[in-house]
């Protein structure tokens, strides 16, 4: 029998039908819905007189638009100040109520950013196909799921048929072996990978992250890495099942118990690439060569070690790269050759589906503890990824550490990652951000984003400029 990759196994296990034209019908186990990319899908369903194929596959929650301000959140959907957003969140509630879809509503325990919520509730389990109208759905691949983002037409298609018409991707493996240095986190690993293969490097491929670094990494860390597969162009990012995966799943709300759990584990343990499976592309990185990473430009591939410098024009290999660099420097208000650590920050954002889990909160709190936000920094938003993360962080007293340092402790949601609510940058402002995209205008019109890890963002808040977290006592080893 041919040796299979993890992706091959997941694909084959969900194949309903192969069509003559080269497309396939793939069965979907979990469909996660939120307010922004679902209303037009539900409308399409209604206009065609169709019903959802299955209810116990769908799970919904509002996350993109909702306020993170406590007073506004306490007033619920009816109290949402932005009328257009309020209608959108209300529409999600109405659609879920109408069709009987399980939803964790705005202030319910369980609510959170879709990609934080799914794994923490055990809605997503190893071996599943998971889709959502959001490109960061690859996050769930940390549990060895075949998970990827889809457009709204496909949201409607999955609602109506429980399947996607799709084509198999190619296999790519990114191997990172060795030991990460002190202060080097999963975020730094994935930014270094994107820096190496580029923002289109994974186009058309499903990436499996392999090697000792990922074996040693926590499941939450693996989620951070898989989350940003899309920033390397790959819709799918995955890590094979190991004991950590199984331990993570055990006891979660929607995970079976007892005999059925043991039965599931028996299957989950097969979810690894066979020893001699062939990948279309292999990429290798050495863990010891990865320093804390910071993006300086307007694409996630415009990334450098914190100890280095903004690139110069004469280093660029092509005219296209030179043009891209010139445009990025102008937008970012930076000089070629400038030290990364000399970049002052106006605001700091710790949150997003990339870095808002409890381990992220703890890493930021370790740096914030007993220190003060620099006077030049206007705002530091710490936004937990879910109600459960918020409750856990508060039980550990992390909220008090953040507030004592002069940071804002907020309600769960996507917040300033994409600035659909009131949390946004002003034009020209630099932000140390734990989110996933540094595109022009992403965090607010004219805003300038620098992506980095939670510990690095907290350190920037304290220093008032980008700084190497390894110089701080308390940094995670």
């Amino acid at each position: 029998m041919t040796e299979e990759t993890l992706y091959d196994k997941l694909w084959n296990a969900h194949l309903v039908k192969e069509n003559d034209d080269g497309s396939s019908l793939l069965y979907i186990d979990r469909h996660v819905l939120h307010e922004v990319t679902s209303p037009q899908a539900f409308e399409g369903l209604r206009l065609a007189g169709r019903l959802p194929w299955r209810l116990d596959t769908n799970i919904a929650t509002p996350d993109h638009n909702i306020s993170t301000d406590k007073a506004e959140r306490d007033a619920g959907v009816a109290g949402m100040v932005d009328e257009v957003s309020r209608i959108q969140v209300q529409t999600l509630d109405d659609n879920c109520d109408l069709y009987g879809i399980k939803e964790f509503k705005i202030n319910e325990m369980g609510q959170g950013i879709v990609h934080v919520m799914g794994p923490e509730l055990g809605v997503t389990m190893p071996g599943m196909t998971v889709v959502c109208g959001d490109s960061h759905t690859a996050t769930h691949g940390a549990l060895a799921c075949l998970a990827h983002g889809i457009g709204t037409s496909e949201v409607e298609h999955v609602l109506a048929t429980q399947c996607l018409v799709t084509k198999k991707m190619k296999n790519m493996r990114v191997t990172v072996n060795g030991a990460l240095g002190t202060g080097v986190t999963p975020k730094d690993v994935v930014l270094a990978i994107i820096g190496k293969i580029g923002t289109a490097g994974g186009n058309g491929h499903a990436i499996e992250f392999a090697g000792s670094v990922f074996r040693e990494m926590s499941i939450e860390g693996r989620m951070t890495v898989c989350n940003m597969a899309i920033e390397a162009g790959a819709r799918v990012g995955m890590v094979a099942v190991d004991d950590k995966t199984i331990d993570y799943c055990r006891g979660r709300q929607f995970v079976p118990q007892g005999e059925m759990f043991d039965q599931a584990v028996g299957y989950w343990e097969t979810l690894v690439s066979d020893a001699n499976a062939v990948f279309d592309i292999e990429v290798d990185l050495v863990a010891e060569s990865i320093a804390p990473q910071v993006t300086w430009g307007t694409s996630p591939e415009m990334v450098a070690a914190v100890t280095s410098f903004v690139p110069t024009l004469d280093e660029q290999p092509s005219e296209e790269k030179r043009k891209g660099l010139e445009r990025a420097l102008e937008y970012m208000g930076l000089e070629a050759g400038q030290a990364i650590e000399s970049i002052a920050v106006d605001r700091v954002f710790i949150g997003s589906c990339t870095n808002s889990r409890i381990e992220d909160m703890r890493a930021a709190a370790l740096i914030a503890k007993g220190r003060q936000v620099a006077g030049s920094v206007k705002q530091v938003l710490v936004v937990p990824g879910s109600q459960m993360v918020k409750a856990q962080a508060e039980a550990e007293g992390l909220d008090k550490i953040f507030m004592a340092a002069g940071m804002d402790w907020r309600e769960p949601g996507c917040s300033m990652c994409l600035a659909m609510n009131a949390d946004k940058l002003g034009s020209g402002e630099h932000c140390a951000s734990t989110s996933n995209r540094n595109f022009e205008g992403r965090q607010g019109s004219g805003g300038r984003t620098h992506l980095m890890s939670p510990a690095m963002a907290a350190a920037a808040a304290i220093a008032g400029h980008i700084t190497d977290v390894r110089a701080f006592s308390g940094v995670n080893s």
Partner: protein
Amino acid sequence: MKAFTQHRGLVGPMDRANVDTDMIIPKQFLKSIKRSGFGPNLFDELRYLDEGQPGKDCSDRPVNHSFPLNQDRYKGASVLLARKNFGCGSSREHAPWALEDYGFHVVIAPSYADIFYNNCFKNGLLPVILSEQQVDILFDELAAQEGYQLSIDLPTQTVTTDSGQVFSFELDKFRKECLLNGLDEIGLTLQDADQIKHYETERAAQHPWVFGVIK
């Protein structure tokens, strides 16, 4: 779904690599619960000098005249000429909705991000892939010639210039068929409902933990 067979139209340029979907349609417009009306806000941050808001009338907003698509010679463009990795980033289908609502029927680029590429076909928008060299030629001709038009033919998978150059492009058979016939993909999949049910029954027996837990 809308059908597409041929199109001939004025070409407009978007001369930068890695154009992301945030740039194509900024997030504040994603609050709409409709599929239409995104055209006036296509490339909003590049097109206008002020910050756009949903529901704001765009007709009296200050226009960025240095943005090519705002120039008179590109008014009415229906073919967008772009660079590599067009449509990267967010999965928002609002991006092809905005392009289509603005009046584009075809995008030509050396490569696309996967999700954007897929989303185009659901909306009667044809994303054509040509080589970087061919796209360079088209950019040069476009810069040199006012009123530059291209003809795109899906059945023969070709882009033809007025001077008679013909460039062929590849695309998947199933995507081509759906676009040519404007097929209802959901309706097509539902023709296989028995097979889907059969798969479900088998899988529920093998992997029962997947079913019935979300209530």
